[in-house]
């Protein structure tokens, strides 16, 4: 049985006097222990809302969450506040995008690491401090005892993100959700953080849900990838298959829009035209149709249903990109 089973997760935001807005629409995916699953898409496609919904961090007023989020057999959406608080930090960890604003600026790093150890493992401040130092060492922060007494503003961006990861992994949660953990960092630090995450997840056997818009991150880290558009999963595939043969025109567009170092100079980049519409019309048509190069008449008339292509591959498209015939036939 999977560690995390998300089924038909739907999040609607309701404002008085306005039609409700569906940010996440019947999203389903599984995460096995030790597996890394990616949620990919551009800004506004519902990836962050999905992660907040799993953690139960959406505001109670205004956000309507339905579906089920089974974590080790219990539905997180049905837990009481108290039960959920006990699980957060202990069984479920989360790493956020901006490491500076995610740390409390007025208390030392050490207190922020020990806080979660004291809360969930009932350690005393002293023993928690020792563990905290070990944790910082594990995430590659040099001179951890000194760093524990320092404040977030005294650390560099990469150090801060390492500290956040240390805090999130302090109680060895079985599931870690990383919401664009490298977006606020520069490229060299990104690579370090990704390597670190990869190593830790492997050592601790933690399952990882990686939320990103960066296909490079996906290529480096994820086992399975869910591509989201307009709040729905439009394509799901194993990493290799997704990169080798993207079937959904959106996925294809995402891959084609990555600048390549080996492309001839002067070649234009290939962006996907347009941007995500505010309220995504999945009724009577495909939400991606207005931007889709492959769009047919049917795409604007009937909502595509999710098809199972076998091998764990799912696709929601009327006119998918045809798999390229391999140019070199392998022996």
């Amino acid at each position: 049985m999977a560690l995390l089973e998300v089924r038909d997760l739907t999040v609607q935001f309701q404002r008085k006097g306005e039609p409700s807005f569906t940010a996440v629409d019947q999203v389903s995916f599984d995460v096995e222990p030790g597996q890394t699953v990616g949620l990919v898409g551009e800004s506004g496609c519902g990836k962050s809302v999905t992660s907040l919904a799993i953690m139960g961090l959406l505001p109670k007023r205004g956000a309507k969450v339905s579906g089920t989020v089974d974590f080790e057999g219990t539905d997180l959406l049905r837990l009481s506040d108290k039960q959920l608080r006990d699980k957060r930090g202990r069984d479920l960890g989360m790493v956020f995008q901006d490491p500076l604003s995610s740390l409390n600026p007025v208390i030392p790093i050490g207190v922020q690491v020990t806080e979660v150890l004291e809360r969930h493992r009932g350690l005393s401040r002293k023993t928690a401090m020792v563990e905290a130092a070990e944790l910082l060492e594990k995430v590659g922060i040099p001179d951890p005892t000194r760093r524990l007494t320092e404040y977030p503003h005294q650390l560099s961006g990469g150090m801060r993100q390492r500290a956040l990861i240390a805090i999130a992994l302090a109680c060895r949660p079985r599931l870690l959700i990383a919401d664009e953990p490298t977006t606020a960092l520069d490229v060299t630090i990104q690579a370090q953080i990704l390597t670190l995450l990869k190593g830790l997840v492997k050592d601790l056997g933690t399952a990882l849900v990686m939320i990103t818009h960066d296909l490079g991150v996906v290529a480096g880290l994820c086992d399975e990838v869910n591509v989201l558009y307009g709040g729905r999963v439009v394509e799901k595939a194993q990493r290799h298959e997704l990169f080798a043969q993207p079937r959904h025109p959106y996925t294809h567009g995402l891959l084609a829009s990555i600048p390549r170092l080996d492309a001839p100079r002067g070649e234009r980049l290939n962006p996907i035209r347009g941007s995500v519409a505010d309220n995504i019309p999945w009724d009577n048509g495909c939400a991606f149709a207005p931007r889709c190069p492959n769009a047919l008449d049917i795409c604007r008339e009937r909502t595509p249903v999710q098809e199972d292509l076998g091998g764990g591959r799912l696709l929601r498209c009327h006119n998918p990109v045809q798999p390229e015939v391999p140019q070199e036939v392998s022996a």
């Binding site: 930090g89 956020f96 995610s102 600026p105 809360r119 007494t149 503003h153």
Partner: protein, 311 residues
């Protein structure tokens, strides 16, 4: 056990490093910045000077501030008061009491009123603001409507109203009247910055770690919301001194004027301000100076405590 002893050593070194704040704690780094700030130094110089005067005034005052030494020089009909003369460098007041002595000893009452009114207002405001900011929802609505009602009445008028409730006004009723007026200001300010903290990333991050509600409020929200409140309290120190002076002037203050207070002295000078402006000038100047001192210290404190400014 090699590993065990290494661990113990580590605990000890950690205990030491957390015990003394030689690392860079918030207070230590704020102090470091303040020491180099000329604004802070000037402001605190003024405050310290007045506090010292208030403490030692009974000994340095040349005369008893309530003794009418020069009463024979007061001629009501010709509107004459004692002029400066040997032993009485600032002359006397309308009752023939030594003006310099009254000015010096007056610092005591004025500072007492200011400090206690601010403290009571601060405690009340912190309690209400934390309540509203921490719980939100209907608790927030209830507290804030109450605060709005209080704020809708002009501050000074509300202070007069509260002051007038007491049949026998004294120093304590003045402090109470002035402080109650400040409660809604503090409450609203704190609630506002607490709400901003509620939405902040680090509170979301703390929530995602399962940190309990109380710890989130008192460890993550409250300390980050105190900056504006600290600045406000120094400004309130200044305004409560002025408010207390206004109460005294309208006869809602301490009726016993044997113990001098600057506000009272200023009020008493109103009737003779065109002929003897010095009677108003000196206490007014003192009130302005002490208010300036508190304001300067408040501004530099805010800069020093703002974590975004820290290096």
């Amino acid at each position: 056990m090699a590993i065990g002893s290494a661990k113990k050593e580590r605990i000890d070194s950690l205990a030491e490093s957390t015990a003394d704040d030689s690392g860079v704690s918030l207070a230590a780094s704020a102090w470091k910045r303040l020491r180099r700030s000329p604004v802070f130094l000037f402001g605190s110089f003024i405050i310290v000077a007045f506090v010292i005067i208030a403490i030692i005034s009974p000994w340095i005052a040349p005369h008893d501030p309530s003794a009418r030494d020069l009463a024979d020089q007061v001629i009501k009909a010709r509107n004459e008061i004692p002029k400066p003369q040997p032993g009485y460098p600032l002359g006397g007041d309308l009752q023939g009491r030594d003006f310099l002595s009254r000015l010096l000893v007056g610092a005591q009452q004025t500072l007492l009123v200011g400090v206690f009114a601010t403290l009571i207002g601060l405690v009340g405001g912190l309690a209400l603001g934390t309540l509203a900011g921490a719980f939100g929802g209907w608790v927030d609505s209830l507290v804030m409507r109450f605060v709005d009602v209080m704020l809708s009445i002009p501050q000074l008028l509300l202070a007069f109203g509260i002051g007038a409730l007491f049949a026998k006004p004294n120093l304590f009723t003045v402090i109470l009247a002035v402080s109650i007026v400040q409660i809604p200001v503090f409450a609203r300010l704190l609630r506002g910055s607490m709400l901003a903290q509620r939405e902040s990333d680090h509170v979301l991050a703390a929530t995602s770690l399962g940190v309990k509600h109380g710890a989130i409020v008192f460890r993550h929200m409250l300390p980050n919301s105190l900056g504006p409140v600290i600045v406000q309290s120094t400004l309130v120190l200044a305004t409560s001194i002025i408010d207390a002076a206004a109460l005294s002037f309208l006869g809602l203050g301490n009726p016993d004027d044997r113990i001098p207070e600057w506000g009272q002295m200023l009020g008493g000078a109103q009737t003779v301000i065109d002929t003897h402006p010095q009677l108003a000038f000196w206490p007014a100047g003192c009130i302005i100076a002490i208010a300036l001192g508190f304001t300067l210290v408040g501004e530099s404190l805010r800069d020093a405590l703002d974590p975004k400014n820290r290096r």
